[in-house]
């Protein structure tokens, strides 16, 4: 292969994304220099808002595609899913980089961000989240450098390939810790978080939903990149991939129902309140419909697969937002709505992530990992 040039196509959509990312960057610098009150509507009643809810809690869940794929492909060695592995890993890595960026903007005393590394508040769920996310991001960067070193710093390629098994196992293990712990953060909200969401099992439910959303995200992603880069994954592979989600979803639904009954709060579901409606919406969109699609002939079609992906993802987003906002608002009051600057930062981060994805896909061997499709 002759030395390729670095390429990055400029299209109108990409220009919009760049503008969004640039705006977010400006706001971010302004925020770091002037504090939180200048760009956010956070207040004493609502110390956590959009950035934690969307960028961190939801971001980490959606980036979960990396670890469910990694578990299935690299640990269980289900070879047929291999074509999915690199793009799943890339999306996940970018997702985590965005989460880390959002966290950095979120913390009020950012120059102290390193303190928990030395002053271990190990009794805190946040400590586990923090440690796992930091380590995992590092591990992902190292995993990913296997691909990068195919083109840059090539002398590092061999040693990295050598330690890959260790990285892969770590990279599958760590997310189990922090995906669950993100739910664990809300255990302390006992008596405040609405009983439709608060349960001692919350961490495990977070873990399961982050697991089943992985294949859903990969379905969406491969259909988008299929269109953009003319790279198609076999429908049959995707179908059996989301089947795995489907089984986890059935377990999730069953556990959720049994748990609600066990805690004696099942009746809240049909209360007709904002909370109960949002809960129903979340379960129907995010769990029940996807299960139906998954185990019916619908999932044999491209439309069905995409619908599955979109619904499942929307359901998980809704779930995380419900925990952070809907379920808390009775306890904390309605005194918070994100400022436009908060929205702009969130949007800009996502835009930046998409641009990074496009750049890497255009310049590194991601989508063509399945050698059969390789065109050289």
């Amino acid at each position: 292969m002759a030395a390729q040039k670095w390429s990055f196509k400029i299209t109108p959509l990409r220009i919009i994304l760049m503008l969004l990312a640039a705006l977010a960057a400006v706001i971010a610098v302004y925020r770091l220099a002037t504090g939180l009150s200048t760009v956010s509507n956070l207040n004493d009643n609502w110390p956590w808002g959009l950035w934690i809810g969307l960028d961190v809690l939801t971001g980490v869940a959606l980036a979960g595609g990396g670890y469910s794929a990694s578990l299935i492909i690299h640990i269980l060695h289900v070879e047929k899913f291999k074509p999915l592995s690199r793009s799943a890993a890339l999306t996940s890595l970018i997702g985590y980089l965005l989460v880390v960026a959002a966290l950095f903007l979120e913390i009020g005393r950012w120059y102290n961000f390193w303190v928990p590394f030395v002053s271990w508040g190990y009794h805190s769920t946040l400590f586990e989240v923090f440690m796992c996310i930091s380590l995992y991001t590092l591990v992902q960067i190292m995993e990913f450098s296997e691909i990068l070193t195919e083109r840059v710093l090539t002398f590092l390629h061999k040693p990295i390939v050598k330690i890959m098994p260790v990285l892969l196992i770590l990279g599958t293990l760590l997310p189990f810790g922090h995906q669950a712990s993100l739910g664990g953060l809300y255990l302390l909200q006992v008596g405040r978080l609405h009983p439709l969401w608060w349960t001692p099992l919350l961490p495990w439910l977070f873990l399961m939903s982050s697991f089943f959303v992985g294949p859903a995200m990969i379905t969406i992603e491969s259909s988008l990149s299929g269109r953009a880069f003319n790279h198609h994954i076999d429908k049959q592979i995707l179908r059996s991939f989301i089947r795995i989600s489907g089984y986890v979803m059935i377990a999730y639904l069953a556990i959720k129902i049994i748990d609600l009954i066990r805690l004696g709060v099942f009746g809240y579901i049909f209360e007709g309140s904002l909370e109960s409606n949002m809960f129903l919406l979340e379960m129907i969109i995010g769990v029940i419909i996807p299960i139906i699609i998954c185990f019916s002939p619908l999932s044999a079609t491209k439309k069905g697969l995409i619908t599955f992906g979109v619904f499942t993802t929307a359901g998980v987003v809704l779930n995380r937002m419900n925990v952070v906002f809907t379920g808390m608002y009775k306890a904390l009051g309605s005194g918070y709505f994100p400022a436009w600057t908060e929205w702009a930062v969130s949007a800009g981060l996502i835009a930046g992530g998409i641009l990074l994805y496009l750049f890497i896909v255009e310049n590194f061997n991601i989508l063509e990992y399945d050698k059969k499709y390789q065109t050289a």
Binding site: A33, T34, G35, L36, S37, L42, N43, D44, N45, P47, W48, L71, H74, I75, L76, H77, V78, E79, E106, I107, G108, R109, W110, Y111, N112, F113, V115, P116, S119, W120, G121, H123, S124, T125, L126, F127, E128, V129, F130, P165, L168, I169, T172, L173, F176, G177, A180, G184, L185, L187, L188, Q189, V190, G191, R192, P200, P203
Partner: protein, 270 residues
């Protein structure tokens, strides 16, 4: 021994001496009051105020009457805020106070969310805001220390009616129940005896605590129990999970290899 304060709301006249002396002792900025329809200001503790006196009108024996309650950190025996802090910036001291150290604070605000009494506040306007909450006048080797010098907190010192009493927690708890049992006017509840596993500040009153929006659905066990019940699984998950994943990794790899071998043999034999 663990220091505590007993607040007897039947003795409070709402004069705010405690609130004022707290501001003075702790060098907290004064703010021009803007009263709502009660005479309390601020309505809650805030980024400049460790303690505030709530004024409430309520019915008692068919008559309108005024009652007052001083609000501040309750200095829980097993504080949720400290258990939530991932940088150890908040710690329970053996002396009783739950103190905050800004040098370690990352500013994640999880403590604010964790506290069942919504006590920790943030000075949002600063570039690098700090958590703001009552320190029980404990500031080892610092300028704002009183407890360390064997003195009572500034608020207790300023209280003209004896509503606030400083002492050892178990003695004050006994005294609280003695008063409750002696005078029938008291509600039969020491707020802080059991709430969230017990707190160092104890309240007794002759009107329900809901009058002051004190949360009454706080569990009687330390809130951190819930996170510990979950976190205790972590080592097992990591070690067990690690072993399991490694085993699976090598097992399935080997299995695939064997399957391939077989295929080959098959081809040859065929």
């Amino acid at each position: 021994m663990s220091k505590a304060v007993l607040v007897d709301l039947t003795k409070c006249i709402g004069c705010k001496s405690c609130q004022t002396s707290c501001k003075q002792w702790n060098d907290l900025p004064a703010i021009k009051p803007q009263f709502d329809n009660t005479l309390s200001y601020p309505a809650e503790t805030d980024g400049y105020t460790y303690t505030t006196v709530l004024h409430r009108t309520t019915e008692k024996n068919g008559q309108e009457t005024l009652r007052f309650a001083k609000r501040q950190c309750l200095h829980c025996l097993e504080p949720a805020c400290a258990s939530a802090c991932f940088a150890k910036a908040i710690q329970k001291t053996p002396e009783g106070p739950v103190v905050y150290n800004p040098d370690l604070c990352v500013g994640c605000r999880y403590c604010m969310l964790a506290c069942p009494f919504s006590i920790p506040k943030y000075d949002w306007e600063s570039v690098f805001p700090q958590i703001v909450k009552c320190q029980f006048c404990f500031d080892r080797e610092g300028t704002h220390d009183r407890i360390g010098h064997g003195m009572e907190p500034a608020c207790v010192n300023a209280c003209p009616t004896g509503c606030l009493k400083f002492g050892e927690r178990d003695e004050l708890l006994k005294e609280a129940w003695k008063r409750i049992n002696k005078y029938s006017k008291y509600i039969k509840h020491v707020y802080g005896e059991k709430e969230a596993g017990g707190t160092s500040w104890l309240y007794i009153a002759d009107v329900p605590f809901e009058t002051f929006d004190f949360r009454t659905n706080v569990p009687n066990i330390p809130l951190s129990t819930y996170s510990h019940d979950y976190l205790k699984w972590s080592p097992a998950v990591f070690i067990g999970g690690g072993a399991l994943l490694s085993a699976l990794h090598f097992y399935t790899k080997r299995r695939n290899e064997i399957a391939k071998e077989k295929d080959k043999n098959h081809d040859i034999n065929a």
